[in-house]
């Protein structure tokens, strides 16, 4: 493998890793705070990618696209909580068990796949670049040409991960999320509006999906079934991260992104298989995840 190849694969691993980290965080902030999650997290990302692509293609400016897609997806997260999750609490004694949310959120995901197929068609499409004038804008790093777009996507994804931590650790609402993750009744006794905080959690998860959807558009192809792959990979990443350690999910995501990038180079037919095998192998050695002794927290 040439140095150029190596750097290119390394960067694309880092890029996808950062995007998986965002999806995984969306899944697990919800799970740790509410013991539910949105199994359609990947479909939310897919819808965000389509919306962003459509707006960019009609010439809306990137900054405005970002604001619009985040707002729309935030609204979707709110709707999901109201329609697919909250009613289950009220009906708990009448319907299914403790896991009916799996069905309802998957149901919403299927509906979204079909809506996307109906609106945008079945075929794969490319989203225009976000940051550079054209898709092929290149800078030289150590004599190797690297896509500007990719570098900026990496930077943006890590920035968002950073902001996510700032929210959880340094804001009142972030601490409220961590309090309901510990115990909902205790949180209520501390004056925390648990219902509103739960809504907030799903809105945040959707906003993370929105951001990953916007960022992923220009670097992979956009198609109606891209979501499930993201959900599955994010689940794998989060289990690798042990769901707990602040750096666990991030490290898990980057390992996964790298494994995927390099295995696709060596075997493009089964490229998607190897990273999952890496996850399995690591989980056999460390069943509680890479940094797994820590207690569960929304981090």
């Amino acid at each position: 493998m040439s140095t150029a190849n190596f750097i290119q694969l390394f960067l694309s691993g880092l890029t996808m890793g950062a995007l998986y980290a965002l999806t995984a965080k969306g899944l697990f902030i919800a799970h740790l705070a509410t013991t539910r999650m949105n199994f359609g997290q990947g479909e939310f990302l897919m819808i965000a990618a389509y919306l962003s692509m459509t707006l960019l293609l009609v010439g809306v400016r990137v900054i405005l696209v970002t604001v619009l897609v985040i707002a729309l997806l935030g609204l979707k997260g709110w709707g999901l909580e109201r329609i697919a999750l909250r009613p289950l609490d009220r009906l708990k004694s009448l319907v299914g068990g403790q896991y009916s949310w799996v069905l309802t959120t998957m149901g919403v995901a299927l509906i979204m796949q079909n809506v996307a197929t109906l609106v945008w068609g079945k075929s794969s499409q490319y989203s225009p670049p976000l940051f550079s004038a054209s898709r092929d804008n290149v800078v030289k790093i150590m004599g190797v040409g690297v896509f500007v777009e990719e570098l900026l996507v990496i930077a943006a994804a890590f920035l968002v991960v950073g902001l996510f931590y700032v929210f959880l650790f340094l804001t009142t609402h972030g601490r409220a999320v961590r309090a309901i993750a510990f115990n909902r009744e205790t949180a209520a006794l501390l004056g925390i509006d648990v219902t509103r905080t739960t809504v907030l959690v799903f809105v945040i998860a959707s906003v993370l999906a929105a951001i990953s959807g916007i960022l992923v558009g220009p670097i992979v192809t956009v198609q109606p079934h891209m979501g499930l792959v993201f959900t599955v990979k994010a689940l794998a990443v989060a289990s690798l991260g042990g769901f707990a350690n602040p750096l666990g999910v991030l490290a898990g995501a980057i390992i996964f992104g790298m494994a995927e990038s390099f295995s696709n180079y060596f075997n493009s037919a089964f490229g998607d298989l190897y990273p999952l095998l890496v996850v399995l192998a690591l989980l056999v050695v460390k069943p509680s995840g890479l940094f797994g002794e820590a207690k569960a927290d929304v981090r």
Partner: protein, 234 residues
């Protein structure tokens, strides 16, 4: 400050409390004694809005409170320090202290800092531990933190669920002294206990058995009459 009249409550298909009459006035320290499973925790959870009231009425601070949401009651000064202290292990001592007060509307940073200093004066050990995670405190320290976290919300009524549980005698004395002091400054304090140690600071006592109040007397009477107490507890 709080008045329960003929209150019944339960969880799901189970009725737990029956016809509870209980009052705590300003500046009064009241203890409810009862054996394991008598319904003490359910009593506090009913008052604080976590358990559904099925009969009777509850008035807090002159207003009907049954049916109100737990977080609203907490914000209006009905503070419940739950069984097992429930310190959030992944937050620091300082973050645990602030987390209740943070959700009171219109409370500025300065006021939160001022209240925190007052709590550090009450329990100096918390100050030395303030940057440590709540989960790594000892039982006694956690109970102090739980009391202080409640006091940060400036309660009109402070309710405590078995604060003596698992505490060394010295830590228990510190906490009881602090609670006695709070009642003297005008706060209404309601604690539920299995042990009689709280009688030494209480004004009045109720005995709860199988979800009903079976005895009610000035605390001094029960202090001096261990037989009555033993009779009701079993």
């Amino acid at each position: 400050m709080i008045r329960l009249e003929k209150v019944s409550s339960g969880i799901g298909s189970i009725d737990i409390l029956r016809d509870i009459d209980l009052t705590v006035t300003r500046g009064e320290l009241v203890v409810v004694l009862g054996a394991n499973g008598a319904g003490k925790t359910t009593l506090l959870r009913t008052i604080s809005g976590l358990v559904e009231v099925r009969g009777g009425s509850i008035k807090f601070d002159g207003k009907t409170s049954e049916g109100a949401k737990a977080h609203e009651l907490a914000r209006s000064g009905l503070v419940h320090v739950p069984q097992g202290r429930q310190i959030i292990p992944t937050l620091t001592v300082e973050e645990n202290l602030a987390i209740g007060a943070e959700h009171l509307s219109g409370l500025g940073r300065d006021e939160i800092a001022r209240r925190m200093e007052a709590e550090y004066e009450r329990f100096p050990v918390l100050k030395t531990r303030r940057h440590i995670l709540g989960g790594s405190l000892s039982g006694g320290e956690q109970q102090m933190l739980a009391v202080s976290r409640g006091l940060m919300m400036a309660p009109k009524l402070l309710m405590l669920d078995e604060p003596s549980l698992g505490l060394a005698p010295q830590a228990l004395q510190r906490i009881l002294a602090a609670l006695g002091e709070l009642a003297r400054t005008g706060m209404a304090v309601l604690m539920v206990e299995q042990k009689t140690s709280a009688l030494q600071i209480a004004d009045r006592a109720y005995v709860l058995k199988n979800g009903a109040i079976v005895h009610h007397a000035p605390a001094a009477d029960l202090r001096n009459d261990a037989d009555v107490f033993r009779h009701y507890m079993n």
